[in-house]
C-alpha cells in the first residue's frame, strides 16, 4: 500500500499516539494493580494504591479521549468493533467500573475484610482489563469476520482464539513490568527492595511471552511482517524495541529507576509502532474476506471533519501535555500517606 501523508494518515497516527499515551500511563497503573495482591500489609498496599492515587483517573481519560477520537475520525470502526465485540466490551466496562470503585472505596473503611475484598477486586480487575485490551489487539492482528455491510459477522467465542489469548497474556506481562518499575520509583525502604527484585521477574515473564507471540505472528500472520520486507528501514523500530527492553535491567541494576521507566515507555511505544506499521492502512482486517476490511479511507469521516478535529487537536494537545507534565511534577517523589490519601 502506497503511503501518502494525508489527513486520514495523520489521524491514524494521532489515534496511535492517544493509544500509546494510554498504554504508557494507564499501563503502569494497571501494572501496579496487577502486582497489588503480591504486596503484603495494609500500609504497603496503601502505598502501592497511593502511588497511582492522584493520576490513575487522568490516565483513564486517555482511553476515553481515544474512544472519542475513534468515533469522530473513523466512525465505522467505532461502530463495527464496539457492537461486534459487544460481550467483551460489556465485560470490559464492568471491570473498569469495578476497578474505579475499588480504588475509591478500598480505604474508606478500616475493616480488614472490607479492604481485603476491595484489594482483590482492584488487582483482579486490573489484570483482566490488561488482558482484554491485549485480546482486542490480538483480534485486530488475526482479522475478524466483517461483512460487505461493514458489520461484524463473528462470534464472542471466536474472539477468544489462542493467538488473541497470547497477546492478552503478553499485555499483562508488559504492564506488570512497566508497573513494577513505576512502583520502585515511588517507594522506599523494604518495600522498594522487594519491588526491585520483582522487576527482573516481570522482565523475564514479559520476554518469554513476547518472543512467543512474535514467533507466532511471523509464522501464522506473515502479513504483519510484509511492510518490513518491503521497506527494510522499518526494522529500525524492531531494533529500538529490543534495545529498549534490554536496557531496562541494566538501568535497574545501576539504580537509575527513572531511566528504566523511560526505557519501558520507549518499549511500549515501539511495540505499538510495530503493530501500527503491520496494520497500516487497515484498521479492522476482515478475515476471511480482506476486501471488506475497514481502512483509514473507507471507514473515515469527511475531510472537513478530519480537518476540524486536527485544529481541535493542535489547540488542545499542548494544554493536555502541560497539565499531564505539571501533575506528575507536583506529585513527584516517594509516596507519603496523609489524611487525604486513599
Amino acid at each position: 500500500m502506497e503511503f501518502t501523508f494525508d489527513l486520514n494518515t495523520i489521524w491514524f497516527i494521532l489515534i496511535g499516539v492517544l493509544l500509546a499515551g494510554y498504554a504508557i500511563l494507564d499501563g503502569f497503573d494497571l501494572g501496579v494493580g496487577a502486582l497489588h495482591l503480591f504486596v503484603k500489609g495494609d500500609t504497603n498496599r496503601r502505598i502501592m494504591l497511593n502511588s497511582i492515587g492522584p493520576v490513575w483517573d487522568g490516565n483513564e481519560v486517555w482511553l476515553v479521549t481515544g474512544g472519542g477520537a475513534l468515533f469522530a475520525a473513523f466512525p465505522d470502526v467505532y461502530a463495527t468493533v464496539f457492537s461486534g465485540f459487544y460481550n467483551a466490551m460489556m465485560l470490559l466496562l464492568a471491570v473498569l467500573i469495578f476497578r474505579a470503585t475499588a480504588i475509591e472505596f478500598r480505604s474508606k473503611q478500616a475493616s480488614t475484610k472490607w479492604r481485603e475484598s476491595w484489594d482483590r477486586a482492584f488487582s483482579i480487575s486490573s489484570i483482566f482489563i490488561a488482558f482484554l485490551m491485549g485480546v482486542a489487539l490480538g483480534n485486530i492482528v488475526t482479522g475478524v469476520p466483517v461483512g460487505a455491510d461493514k458489520e461484524f459477522a463473528g462470534t464472542f467465542l471466536g474472539l477468544l482464539n489462542p493467538y488473541a489469548i497470547m497477546v492478552g497474556i503478553t499485555t499483562v506481562a508488559l504492564f506488570m513490568m512497566h508497573g513494577s518499575i513505576y512502583a520502585v520509583m515511588k517507594t522506599e525502604g523494604e518495600l522498594q527492595s522487594k519491588l526491585r527484585s520483582w522487576v527482573n521477574n516481570t522482565i523475564i515473564f514479559f520476554t518469554i511471552s513476547y518472543v512467543g507471540t512474535t514467533m507466532t505472528t511471523l509464522v501464522y500472520y506473515p502479513h504483519m511482517a510484509e511492510p518490513f520486507k518491503q521497506n527494510p528501514a522499518l526494522y529500525v523500530v524492531a531494533l529500538l524495541n529490543m534495545l529498549a527492553v534490554a536496557n531496562i535491567p541494566r538501568e535497574i541494576h545501576h539504580g537509575r529507576d527513572f531511566r528504566a521507566f523511560l526505557s519501558s515507555c520507549a518499549s511500549i511505544v515501539a511495540l505499538l509502532a510495530l503493530f501500527a506499521i503491520g496494520l497500516f492502512p487497515n484498521l479492522v482486517l476482515s478475515n476471511p474476506n480482506p476486501e471488506y476490511s475497514l481502512t483509514i479511507y473507507n471507514a473515515a469521516s469527511s475531510q472537513k471533519t478530519l480537518e476540524t478535529m486536527l485544529i481541535i487537536a493542535i489547540i488542545g494537545i499542548p494544554f493536555v501535555l502541560a497539565y499531564t507534565i505539571s501533575i506528575y511534577w507536583v506529585f513527584r517523589g516517594k509516596v507519603k500517606l496523609n489524611k487525604m490519601s486513599y
Partner: protein, 457 residues
C-alpha cells in the same frame, strides 16, 4: 422484548444513573470556588474546614460520575452502531473536543484539588479548584451541544442513501451553535447548580436540626441558599426560552408537552391533567385559557401547531411526555418557592431557627434530582420516534450485530453493578455526613504554607 426497546431501556438506565452525579459535581464545584475563595480572602479557618469537607463530598460524586461515564462513551458504539455511523462525522468532533478540552482539564486539576493540599501554594490550589469547576461545566457544554444537534440538526448535509446514508458536517460553528444549544445548555447548567446547592442546603439543614457543627452549617447554608436563589430564578428564564425554542424547532414535542392536538390560536396551558390519547383530550385537568399561546409569542392569538399536523408514526407518546414535563415544571416552581422562603426567613433573621423549613430543606435535595431526570426524559422521549430529529428514526439506529439476548445480559449486568454502586455511594455519603467536618482543634492547616507563595508551584 425486541432489541430496540431493550437497547432503549439500557441506555435510559445507564444515562439516568450517570446523570445523578455530574450535576452534583458541577453544582458543588461552584460552591467550592466560593468557599475556598472566601477562605483566601478572609483567612477565616472555618472556610478551610468547609472547603475540605465539601471537597470530600465532591470527590465521591466525581468518582461515581467517572465510573458510570466511561460506559456512556462506548455505549453509542456498542448499542447504537448505525446511529454512530450516521452521526460520527458530526457528533464525534464534539465528543473529541469534550475529551481533549474538558476531561483532561478536570481530571488533571482534580488530583491537586483532592490530593495536593500540601503540594502546592494556596493560590495554586485555588486555581486548581477553579479549573476543576470550569472543566466540569465545559464537559457539559460539549455533551449538550451534541445532544442538541440531535434535537435541532444544523450545519450538516446528508451523504449516501439507505443504510449507508450519513450526516456530514458542513459548518462546525453552525453545528455547535445549533438552534437549541444555548437554551438547553443554560437550562442544564442551572439545573446542575440547583443539584449542588440543594445538597449543601440539605446536609447543612440536617446539622442545624441535630445541633451539630452549627457555625459550619450556617455558613454552608448561606452559600448554598444564595446559589439556589440565583439558579432557581435563572431556571425560570432558561426554561421559558427553551420552551419557546421547542415551539419553533420541534413543534411535535411542544404539542406533546401540552397535549395540544388541534392547531389553534388561544391555546391553553395545563397545570396538570391526564391525557387520553385515544380521544385526544385531557382529563381531570385544569387549564389556563390562551396561556400557551401567550407564553410562546406574548400574544393569546398566536397559533400553536397541534399533534394532528403530524402523522401518528411521527408523534411522541403524549401522556408520558406530558406528565414528565409537568412534573419538571412543578418541581421547578417548588424550588423557586422554597428558595424564596429561605431568603425571606434569612432576611428576618430566623432562617436557622425555623424547624419546619429546615426539615423541608433536608428533603428538598430530591427536588433538583427528580426535576433533572424527568426533564431529560421529557426532552428525549419528546424527540421520539426520532433519534436525530426528522432525520433518523430510533428504530433504524440500532446495532445490527447485537441480539436482544446480548442486551438482556448487559442490562442485567448494569443493573447489578449500578445497584451495588448506588448503595455504596449512599453508604459512604452517609458516613461522611455522620463524620462531619474536621474538629477545629485537630485540624492543622494542610495547606503547604500560609504565606502567599506567588508564582511558586
Amino acid at each position: 422484548m425486541d432489541a430496540e426497546i431493550l437497547a432503549r431501556i439500557q441506555f435510559a438506565f445507564t444515562i439516568a444513573f450517570h446523570y445523578i452525579f455530574p450535576p452534583l459535581s458541577i453544582g458543588l464545584g461552584v460552591i467550592l470556588v466560593i468557599m475556598e475563595g472566601t477562605y483566601l480572602k478572609t483567612k477565616n479557618p472555618i472556610y478551610e474546614r468547609m472547603t475540605k469537607f465539601w471537597v470530600k463530598v465532591f470527590a465521591l460524586t466525581f468518582a461515581v460520575g467517572v465510573a458510570s461515564g466511561i460506559v456512556m462513551e462506548f455505549e453509542f458504539g456498542t448499542n447504537w452502531a448505525t446511529y454512530s455511523r450516521y452521526v460520527g462525522d458530526v457528533f464525534g468532533s464534539a465528543l473529541a473536543a469534550e475529551g481533549i478540552f474538558a476531561f483532561f482539564l478536570e481530571s488533571g486539576f482534580l488530583a491537586i484539588l483532592v490530593f495536593g493540599w500540601d503540594k502546592v501554594s494556596p493560590k495554586m490550589h485555588f486555581f486548581s479548584t477553579i479549573m476543576v469547576s470550569f472543566g466540569s461545566m465545559f464537559s457539559a457544554v460539549w455533551i449538550v451541544v451534541a445532544n442538541s444537534w440531535q434535537q435541532t440538526p444544523a450545519g450538516y448535509h446528508i451523504v449516501g442513501e439507505g443504510m449507508a446514508a450519513r450526516a456530514e458536517i458542513t459548518d462546525f460553528w453552525a453545528m455547535v451553535f445549533n438552534p437549541s444549544s444555548v437554551d438547553r445548555l443554560s437550562h442544564t447548567l442551572s439545573g446542575a447548580w440547583l443539584a449542588g446547592a440543594f445538597l449543601v442546603i440539605s446536609i447543612s439543614a440536617w446539622y442545624l436540626l441535630k445541633g451539630r457543627h452549627i457555625d459550619f452549617a450556617k455558613r454552608s447554608m448561606k452559600i448554598g441558599l444564595s446559589l439556589a436563589i440565583f439558579a432557581s430564578l435563572f431556571q425560570l428564564f432558561t426554561g421559558h426560552s427553551s420552551a419557546v425554542g421547542v415551539s419553533e424547532n420541534q413543534p411535535a414535542k411542544l404539542a406533546a408537552f401540552e397535549a395540544q392536538y388541534e392547531t389553534e390560536s388561544n391555546a391553553p396551558l395545563y397545570l396538570f391533567g391526564w391525557v387520553d390519547d385515544d380521544n385526544q383530550e385531557v382529563r381531570f385537568g385544569i387549564a389556563l385559557p390562551g396561556m400557551l399561546s401567550y407564553l410562546i409569542a406574548g400574544d393569546t392569538e398566536h397559533v400553536v401547531t397541534g399533534l394532528n399536523e403530524f402523522k401518528k408514526e411521527d408523534r411522541p407518546p403524549v401522556n408520558v411526555v406530558f406528565q414528565l414535563y409537568h412534573l419538571m415544571v412543578a418541581i421547578g416552581f417548588g424550588l423557586i418557592g422554597i428558595s424564596l422562603l429561605g431568603a425571606f426567613f434569612w432576611w428576618r433573621g430566623k432562617l436557622f431557627e425555623t424547624k419546619w423549613l429546615l426539615w423541608a430543606f433536608v428533603f428538598a435535595v430530591l427536588g433538583p434530582q427528580i426535576a433533572n431526570q424527568v426533564g431529560w426524559f421529557a426532552a428525549e422521549i419528546g424527540r421520539q420516534p426520532w433519534i436525530v430529529y426528522n432525520l433518523l428514526r430510533t428504530s433504524d439506529a440500532l446495532s445490527q450485530a447485537v441480539s436482544s439476548g446480548q442486551i438482556i445480559f448487559s442490562l442485567i449486568l448494569f443493573i447489578v453493578i449500578y445497584s451495588l454502586l448506588f448503595v455504596l455511594f449512599i453508604y459512604l455519603l452517609n458516613e461522611k455526613i455522620k463524620h462531619g467536618p474536621e474538629d477545629p482543634d485537630s485540624l492543622d492547616s494542610e495547606y503547604k504554607s500560609q504565606e502567599p507563595l506567588v508564582g511558586k508551584v
